[in-house]
Amino acid sequence: MRSNLILAAVVAFVVLAAGSVILPDWAMFLFAMALAKGLVCLGIVGMMRGGVVSFGQGLYYCLGAYTATLVANSFGVSDIFVLTLLSSAVCLLVGMAFGPLLSSYRGIFFAMLSLALSMVLYGSLSKMSVIGGTDGLNIAAPTFLGWAPEGRTLQTALYIYVVAIVVIAGALMRIYFDSERGLITLATRDNELRVEYLGASVRNVMTYNYVFGAVLGGIGGTIAALALGHVDPEFAFWTTSGEFVFVAILAGYLSVPAVFVAAIILEMVRSFSNLYFPNTWQLALGIFLLIVIVVLPNGLGSLVNRRKGNAA
């Protein structure tokens, strides 16, 4: 089985990396952004498997982005690997601080409390004129272990970097989902009482998923910031988090790759509806969301990865 996973990962990497050749510049950038956001959504999917959905992943997306930007601007660090590590470390710590707190909330309360947390970050950043307030900050293009590409090369390098991280993160999460703890998470979504009476701690399960989500969010935010060259508090605004949730629902919790396909599809729809319906793109997007929710109640993943027995 594991060999299959490795094979799949390699295939996924090749297919995605091929994009750096096939794709026009604008699309490569769009894909890079979509994949970065996909990482955040993968974190939400991890929580969805446990039965909760965070409406506040913008918190970590933003935290990661600002950590990278502030570090880059104040210490002149530009190496993408260092920045990614630093911001995921910060998000890990913050996640470990909030995780236990949130782990006892469910459903709409978990969603709203996580939303409140990210809105507080949004508010605080908006107030801090020193770091640009609502206007945000710019961050210089990253370097790769001393190599400082420019133009199309830079975009390609960034894109390949995202792809690599996506494939690694995706594979790791797949391993986790298939693991004993992964199954326990699914059981928790289903019947917490049973899990507790089997002697496992539901809060513990929830906390782990939350912390993983935090780290993935941080990585996604860092990459997004480096690709955009700009961060602002909007990263933590509820509509941003709302989009992440939408991608997660669109993907469903069954398949990991579906998350990234969903992210790319959303970016495409958004970008084109923007261009073709400048006055009614929200309408277009909203209708698209509804169609997806109606047509794919279990998400894209259900197309390719029907659970045993769920076929009915």
């Binding site: 799949a8 295939v11 096939i22 004129s129 955009l228 060259g229 261009l275």
Partner: protein
């Protein structure tokens, strides 16, 4: 093996993306991407009027001969003007993506846009990366060129420091007594910066004026009851606000209903654009600016630009049944600047459609006339414009049934803008060194 299946799906999406081919602009058309607010709060106050003005001007230019010299030639240097318009709503992240799409997918020849300061900060690095000629036509924050420098990015409107410096100077020149003042500004960069600029300028001109309270209601709050109570209790001699759009209208309606304007002088840094909607609900005697000699102030100015101004003014009124406020004026000065630059570049390159490099070279340090006055790209090494400004006092003309601006004071560009090479905050802190006021 679902991963590879998904991989297939992904490759498919990739193809779709690849197929969405751009419509390459021919040499006899000049394609501009215009980004401004078509939805959300800023649509009504800035985005839509700005583009109404822009559309009007583009049509007039494409027809040719509609405008007084030097703008009587057709299109941009004879080329037909084609426009791709994009909604600015959705935040800087989205705008950076849209910018790339405009340049790389739509292959526009130039981008004109951005009301939001956040977008104006986020886009320039990308513009330089893509070597895409870009005009920022509206946004206020001085940080764009004070914190960075860009090859292909130009701002054809003065930055926001001018607005509040002029306001303070207006108080002084009308020797209005300000023992104390307070502020109510939107809680985001625009409001925070405007308040900082205003207090900075006041510290110079009214050193011993006491700052009462600085209120920052949430952007789009709509309800100002509590804030107004606070202002009524504090009884400041003057209340400063840089609010715009619905927030300003809401504040004025609620403040006047509770007599705040009778108790304190209201001074609005960018208030002119709500006059067409509020009409006589806007009380008399309010000091207000228009972020430049725009709208009523421009109409009242006359001078050698009268013909140009009136042509645009009348065309706009005829088309949209209301008079143009600040936003269309700033769009006009951007498009006139772009026209001038293109034609200058073509004069240098022998009439070919200019490249981004040639455009940038031509735009650098350029100066041209617009309905809002003489625009000079003198700051930030020729990338940032300065322009004259005006502040006036509202007065409802009952018989004409329209709001007028009286006691208008005009300020030279160099009187209310910092000199080249000096950050506006330092300029304020040091008491306007090098300011040339008539």
């Amino acid at each position: 093996m679902m991963k590879s299946k998904i991989g297939g799906a992904l490759a498919a999406t990739t193809l779709i993306a690849g197929m969405a081919g751009p419509a390459v602009a021919a040499d006899d058309t000049f394609k501009i991407g215009v980004i401004t607010f078509l939805s959300g709060q800023a649509a009504e106050s800035f985005g839509v009027p700005a583009w109404n003005g822009g559309k009007l001007l583009v049509d007039m230019l494409n027809e040719g001969g509609k405008l007084p010299a030097p703008y009587d030639t057709k299109g941009f240097g004879g080329m037909n003007i084609e426009v791709v318009i994009v909604d600015e709503a959705g935040g800087a992240t989205k705008q950076v993506q849209e910018f790339r799409n405009l340049v790389q997918r739509e292959e526009v020849d130039a981008v004109v846009g951005y009301v939001s300061s956040g977008d104006c900060l986020a886009v320039p690095p990308v513009a330089d990366e893509l070597k895409a000629f870009t005009i920022l036509y509206d946004c206020g924050t001085p940080r764009v060129f004070e914190d960075g420098s860009y090859e292909y990015v130009f701002r054809t409107a003065a930055h926001a420091t001018m607005d509040n410096v002029s306001l303070a100077r207006y108080l002084k020149s009308r020797n209005f007594d300000v023992p104390s003042f307070a502020g109510l500004n939107q809680d985001y960069a625009w409001g925070q910066d405007s308040w900082a600029d205003f207090t900075g300028a006041m510290k110079q001109l009214y050193p011993d004026a006491e700052v009462k309270t600085a209120l920052f209601p949430k952007f789009g709050a709509g309800q100002y009851g509590t804030e107004i109570s606070a202002l009524l209790r504090e009884k400041p001699a003057l209340v400063h606000s840089s609010n715009w759009g619905g927030d300003l209208q809401g504040f004025l309606i609620q403040a006047t209903a509770r007599g705040l304007h009778k108790r304190s002088q209201l001074a609005l840094a960018a208030g002119d654009h709500v006059i067409p909607q509020l009409q006589n609900k806007m009380p008399d005697g309010i000091f207000l600016g228009a972020r430049g000699v725009n709208g009523l102030a421009a109409h009242a100015r006359g001078g050698e630009l009268k013909e140009l101004t009136d042509t645009m003014w009348d065309a706009y009124e005829a088309e949209y049944k209301t008079f143009p406020v600040q936003a269309p004026f700033r769009m006009w000065q951007a498009l006139f600047g772009l026209k001038t630059a293109i034609e200058k570049a073509m004069a240098d390159n022998g009439g070919k459609k200019p490249s981004s490099e040639e455009l940038a070279a031509a735009m650098k340090g350029l100066s041209w006339d617009a309905p809002s006055g003489h625009i000079e790209m003198v700051l930030a090494d020729g990338h940032q414009a300065i322009q004259p400004n005006a502040i006036g006092t509202t007065k409802w003309n009952a018989e004409a049934g329209k709001m007028e601006l009286v006691d208008v004071e005009y300020y030279d560009a160099r009187c209310v803008n910092p000199p080249e090479g000096m950050k506006s905050q330092d300029w304020l802190a040091q008491g306007f060194p090098g300011a040339l006021c008539n």
